[in-house]
Subunit: 189 residues, 6 copies
Amino acid sequence: MKNFLLACVFLALASSFASAFDPSPLQDFCVAIDDPLHGVGSNVTAVNVQQIPGLNTLGISAARIDFAPYGQNPPHTHPRATEILVVLEGTLLVGFVTSNPNNTLISKVLNKGDVFVFPIGLIHFQFNIGKTNAIAIAALSSQNPGVITIANAVFGSDPAIDPGFLARAFQLDKYVVKGLQAKFWIDGN
Amino acid sequence: MKNFLLACVFLALASSFASAFDPSPLQDFCVAIDDPLHGVGSNVTAVNVQQIPGLNTLGISAARIDFAPYGQNPPHTHPRATEILVVLEGTLLVGFVTSNPNNTLISKVLNKGDVFVFPIGLIHFQFNIGKTNAIAIAALSSQNPGVITIANAVFGSDPAIDPGFLARAFQLDKYVVKGLQAKFWIDGN
Amino acid sequence: MKNFLLACVFLALASSFASAFDPSPLQDFCVAIDDPLHGVGSNVTAVNVQQIPGLNTLGISAARIDFAPYGQNPPHTHPRATEILVVLEGTLLVGFVTSNPNNTLISKVLNKGDVFVFPIGLIHFQFNIGKTNAIAIAALSSQNPGVITIANAVFGSDPAIDPGFLARAFQLDKYVVKGLQAKFWIDGN
Amino acid sequence: MKNFLLACVFLALASSFASAFDPSPLQDFCVAIDDPLHGVGSNVTAVNVQQIPGLNTLGISAARIDFAPYGQNPPHTHPRATEILVVLEGTLLVGFVTSNPNNTLISKVLNKGDVFVFPIGLIHFQFNIGKTNAIAIAALSSQNPGVITIANAVFGSDPAIDPGFLARAFQLDKYVVKGLQAKFWIDGN
Amino acid sequence: MKNFLLACVFLALASSFASAFDPSPLQDFCVAIDDPLHGVGSNVTAVNVQQIPGLNTLGISAARIDFAPYGQNPPHTHPRATEILVVLEGTLLVGFVTSNPNNTLISKVLNKGDVFVFPIGLIHFQFNIGKTNAIAIAALSSQNPGVITIANAVFGSDPAIDPGFLARAFQLDKYVVKGLQAKFWIDGN
Amino acid sequence: MKNFLLACVFLALASSFASAFDPSPLQDFCVAIDDPLHGVGSNVTAVNVQQIPGLNTLGISAARIDFAPYGQNPPHTHPRATEILVVLEGTLLVGFVTSNPNNTLISKVLNKGDVFVFPIGLIHFQFNIGKTNAIAIAALSSQNPGVITIANAVFGSDPAIDPGFLARAFQLDKYVVKGLQAKFWIDGN
């Protein structure tokens, strides 16, 4: 993970309301060592309106995604944005699933320089299928895209969704659901 | 399920481009007996731009949801719309989960006449917690809201998402995932 | 009107900014006895951003409309929303008029379960043509749709529009206009 | 009306998709002598997407309004646009009515060079209160704003709205309504 | 320039949030004598959300443009609006340039009563090619359209853009660029 | 320029309307050797709705920008999008100028990993101030952002803008303008 520490992101806000020249970065966040609690082997560094108030109304934001070997950015959605992804390093298997009734998986292996689009609100994922680290830049069509990690939202919500209800929805044994809720509650909180 | 057969929906399209008075319904769909393959005890009858081309650009659509006793409308999202729900009959436990990092569950028991809102793109559900059938009307802020049933999209996509990948994302045994994919592939197709 | 008093609406706000579970209704409004001043035999109970600040930006709202036998929801427009109407009880004659130069009336008799759409900004109405009470649910494609009741806005404004001007516009005798203004000024204020 | 004939409008379409220089006007419409059927003493010459397909998606249109002495542009709404009005000649009394429940009239006397705004969907009017002709330019915030002249839409629709229904809505005698429908049916068709 | 002083603009704000009748103009700005520093022979009097807070969200604004004989409104863009122009007096040569790669000039000579459209964000200009003053009314599809005068933004910014950089971009001698920056710095500040 | 030839961009379209898995790239464009006609030392490889019809309605696009040492992406605007820029390699001086009357230059030196935002419609530029090649990824908040290179649009349009007019607007000698038009006409065509 060493090279994670070498890549830092400096940021300058530039909004049409700015009335002066700002010589210093508004913020500086280095990509931290991959969070062991997350456990899926990826780390997302977001640049959106929460970090940059001046992005408000501008309809765009960005993120850098670092993947450990075989790391994944698990199935998730952005409730308010389409995402365009550019691979900088490594080889990613990416995909998304269309809405009902088709539930068609659209997926592809991407190499350095490849670009892929995830339409607004659809469940999508990225998977580093290579032996080396991978890096991608994502841009999103909203200054406040939001992110919903499916497993965390379904099994890690606080308070928890009724286990019997989820067992029927996911056709899982109720005790399996309770086990998942125990795992994801830690993860999501 | 008998009373399902008594409630029929007749529909008239009314668009600002219509140039004549249409005395007959454009379509007529009776709520059928709950589909046994679905197995969750609810039935959604949608009225959107797929049924009504004239809804295009008007930014709204509707659906009727019928619930068997203890039936559920499982966790799902609408990628392009906020939903407002009105309960006509019965008692529903409804909820949605906010986006990361909070994953807060906002839920409530609704009785006849209650109204609830599910913001665009968030995972939400309804559960008939009563001994009787329940009926609700939902309106959505798009003529083409789309729907993604989480379990079907994740475990029932065609082609299937790699089971090993999903096993890690959902912290499930790979064989449990394969079992789910076998069940939801039937359901989703 | 007795059964009006039995149908109460409890409401829970659910916005994506909510950070906690709210166990109690945000408001409770029972449909009151039909306002004798209004005199047209209908009563509209709205659920929009004025009642629910959290609806802001979500682009949807709803209303329940109760009709006495032969009651009407008189010609009106919503300046900022399309409306979709679902009939719950009774039989309604509904319609709207297209814009100039056509001024075509699109109308239809709706029974329980029927759905109809009134495009944004067009003049429309509902009329209970049955011997019994009628109930409908309307959803609107804005959290702040607004409503303009034509007769009240034209003849009941405060201050009043010049009677001679209105007499020419509506091809009515000036004294008829003054009589209308006297009636609607009470009604609108 | 002589000076009406002197003012002609030549038009050139300019869209970002145009791929060539167009040296000749796309259309030429002279303001005709005021239509005697209309009878209110104004004439509207519109420039919108119906005349200019290239305006599509550009979100703006315009109109020239010519007023005879004491002529009026009767109460109307634009279902899809806000209007900004600039007076070129003469003195106009203009106004609009806010939405329910206030029904407040906002009005003002405008002279040459004055500017006024009519918010989207609200009922508004202009009245030439001077002894001379008046001319105004209106711009609208849509390429397809639409216009609904209240009296024509309510009393001149084809087919007609039930006279008994309108009599109750407008608190007029049913025979007065039938008389109005006879007048406006001619006017509107 | 005398007749410039005779034409004054009085303004009344009318917003749907207004709750009272405002009998007096909100502001009064007379078109001043053409600013000698500007030196291009035109004067723009804008009516947008900076002057009228109530225009906010209404999506429209306006401007009056006065031209001295052979005066010009130099190449500029509106970053947030399409413009529709109506000529009131005089003869204007107007034009805009399409985006890359075409860079096609769409231009036309306009006389009194002519209308022309400048699509959002494109570089455009107006030139009074007559011996007399000219006047035009422009409407813009935003309450806050913004304006960027190309020469002032490029050569008159504060602080200045590196002269060597601009020399290469505009294929000008570096000392020519420095001379331009000296001229436009005065003009732009 | 050798390493330009090593970086190729493969592209896969993913739209919500896609109904099948597409195993092969939709297109393949390698960044070519820098075009000698352009002469500013940068090369933009765009990924927008012209290349990818499926991006339509999704509100986002991307571009890769390669810079030779001391190469520049000259002053330009995007008429329909805000841009967010991420530096992958090298050191860039970037900036934009606010709208009139301020014409304030907001600029900053960016290093690898830095992010900067250029608000919609404002004139902006990037300048490689390092001895080595530089690479940046830009994302834009429209599937069809458009680009207007200021010098090419003003001095290289076809047909040409009147040199006397431009000489006054830019306070340049008419023969200097004619010289620029000769240079940029080649460049822009």
